[in-house]
């Protein structure tokens, strides 16, 4: 039972990280009509920023500000590239997919050549925090607690913004019909930039919480997380935010349970096997495509 509770908490905190990334990814898909494959890589890059800042300052506030700020800034910096592409090719999701894929290679290369000589980075133990619950190999650290509560708060805030505020209404309007939105006077370019900023904010928060939760990062982490984010989004139904919420949490819990109860590291094999089965039965995703 203790194992179950610990792994459930682990799963929820891991799952809420997936949810945040799936939400950011889907927001850009819905509003800006792009597949930003490099989004998880940007998040890993801001984990590197967080790690770099921790070397120079012990001011937690400054560290958080720098990593979130860098994620927002870099994400917004990609917007003109996608806007230019849209001008030449129309809003073509496939083109954005190929271009963002090349962005992942550039970002991964930067991390593996220029940062920490390509070695994985480890966050100081002070940053990760002490173990709160421990049963042999299974632990729940205070960093994971931060991730759990921070993740839930961020998800709630995101849905509040989207469904209860004027800005959220505008974002939803553009995602449904961008031409009609501009006809009624909504500035589409400005709103798209805002969607990049919100996705950047979600990514930056995730970077902080992931660094506390995992305690380390490597250049390959972006590919690893990216694959799961894309797969989860497709399984949930592309562009389906509520579906992303459920499936992100499910993925996190499935992985932790597999780690908790099965020998060896079968967690990835099991979660991707489940995704394969879902796609065979429901090709449009569990909750239906909304993009």
């Amino acid at each position: 039972m203790e194992v179950f509770i610990a792994q459930l908490l682990n799963g929820l905190s891991l799952g809420s990280m997936y949810v945040l990334l799936v939400l950011g990814f889907n927001l850009m898909l819905l509003v800006a009509k792009i597949i930003q494959f490099a989004y998880p890589h940007l998040v890993v890059l801001s984990m590197y920023v967080c790690w770099g800042m921790l070397k120079y300052t012990s001011n937690v506030f400054l560290v958080i500000l720098a990593s979130i700020g860098s994620c927002i800034a870099i994400n917004i910096a990609t917007e003109p590239i996608f806007r230019l592409l849209a001008k030449r090719h129309g809003l073509d999701i496939n083109v954005s997919f190929v271009v963002s894929m090349s962005m992942t290679l550039v970002i991964t290369d930067i991390m593996s050549h220029l940062l920490n000589y390509g070695f994985p980075i480890a966050f100081p133990s002070k940053w990760i925090g002490k173990s709160v619950i421990g049963f042999g190999l299974i632990t729940f650290s205070s960093g994971q607690a931060y991730a759990l509560f921070g993740g839930i708060a961020a998800v709630l805030a995101f849905f509040y913004l989207l469904y209860r505020t004027r800005q959220g209404r505008v974002l939803r309007a553009i995602s449904e019909n961008s031409l009609l939105s501009s006809i009624i006077g909504i500035p589409t370019i400005k709103t798209r930039v805002i969607s990049y900023a919100i996705a950047g904010l979600l990514g930056g928060l995730t970077a902080i919480m992931l660094s506390k939760m995992l305690g380390s990062a490597s250049p390959a982490l972006g590919d690893f997380v990216g694959m799961k984010i894309i797969a989860t989004s497709i399984v949930a139904g592309l562009g389906n935010l509520k579906g992303g919420l459920v499936c992100g949490l499910l993925l996190g819990i499935t992985e932790s349970m597999a780690i908790g109860y099965l020998p060896g590291s079968w967690s990835n094999a099991i979660s991707f096997m489940m995704m394969l089965i879902v796609m065979l039965i429901k090709p449009e995703g569990l909750f239906g495509i909304k993009a």
Binding site: R166, R169, V170, R172, A173, E176, N177, L179, L180, S181, S182, I183, I184, G185, I186, P187, T188
Partner: protein, 234 residues
């Protein structure tokens, strides 16, 4: 109020509009009539900045709006009610109206009251998802949404498209009422008879050109118009 001077629009090598000149004065109702493919919608799209204009000028309230962004044109007071009663179908009636008042959220409550006065049915359905409304109700919502922005000129594209005859009558009554309240209306309509009964003046379009224009009464009695658009000979 709105002046279109010698505009040309082309889709690649195909000339969609050639040498179009129209003007709309404050308080008037003006129609563009013509068959499917005559270029009515293209002209409206050009005015709204949705379709790029290759030559010519569009002037609204003394300012040139040729090839300006659509949202900027809308915020200057041009309210397009697009064809096919377009609404944000996943959102509620209220949310649609809130979006309509994007550029002047301060007058939201006053505008909402006056819109509900003209469209009591929308008041009843205020929390209903717009996609579940009937075609006529969606068209009303589409008109109401554009009124929320207090436009100076209302442009209506094919308001009768896909609606039952009885509903079409209701929609035209609503437009008539809006004109009485002082709204200027530019209307593009295939159903020439309906349109000519409603407007002061009209332009007749054929394959991208304006072939005739004049007061509606004159056009109704013009044998050419009668044969081509009104279906019976005089």
């Amino acid at each position: 109020m709105l002046r279109v001077e010698d505009i040309f629009v082309s889709y690649g090598p195909i000339k969609a509009l050639e040498n179009i000149n129209i003007n709309v004065n404050a308080g008037e109702t003006v129609a563009l009539i013509g068959a499917n493919g005559a270029g009515k919608t293209t002209l409206l799209k050009a005015i709204m900045g949705i379709q790029k204009v290759s030559a010519g000028k569009i002037i609204f309230l003394g300012e040139e709006i040729t090839n300006v962004g659509t949202d900027k044109i809308a915020n200057r007071g041009l309210g397009l009610i697009p064809e096919g009663h377009l609404v944000f179908s996943t959102m509620t009636v209220l949310e649609n109206l809130q979006l309509g008042s994007y550029n002047n959220p301060n007058c939201f409550n006053d505008n909402l009251e006056s819109v509900f006065e003209s469209f009591p049915i929308l008041h009843k359905r205020i929390n209903q998802i717009a996609g579940t409304l009937s075609g006529g109700e969606q068209q009303m919502l589409s008109i109401a949404r554009s009124l929320m922005a207090k436009p100076k000129l209302i442009i209506v594209d094919e308001p009768s498209l896909g609606l039952a005859p009885k509903v079409i009558g209701e929609i035209f009554n609503i437009l008539r009422g809006l004109n009485k309240k002082g709204y200027t209306i530019l209307l593009a309509e295939q159903k020439a008879k309906k349109a000519l009964e409603f407007v002061d003046r009209a332009y007749v379009m054929e394959i991208g050109k304006i072939v005739l224009h004049g007061p509606a009464q004159e056009l109704i009695s013009n044998p050419k118009v009668h044969n081509a658009y009104l279906g019976s000979k005089i």
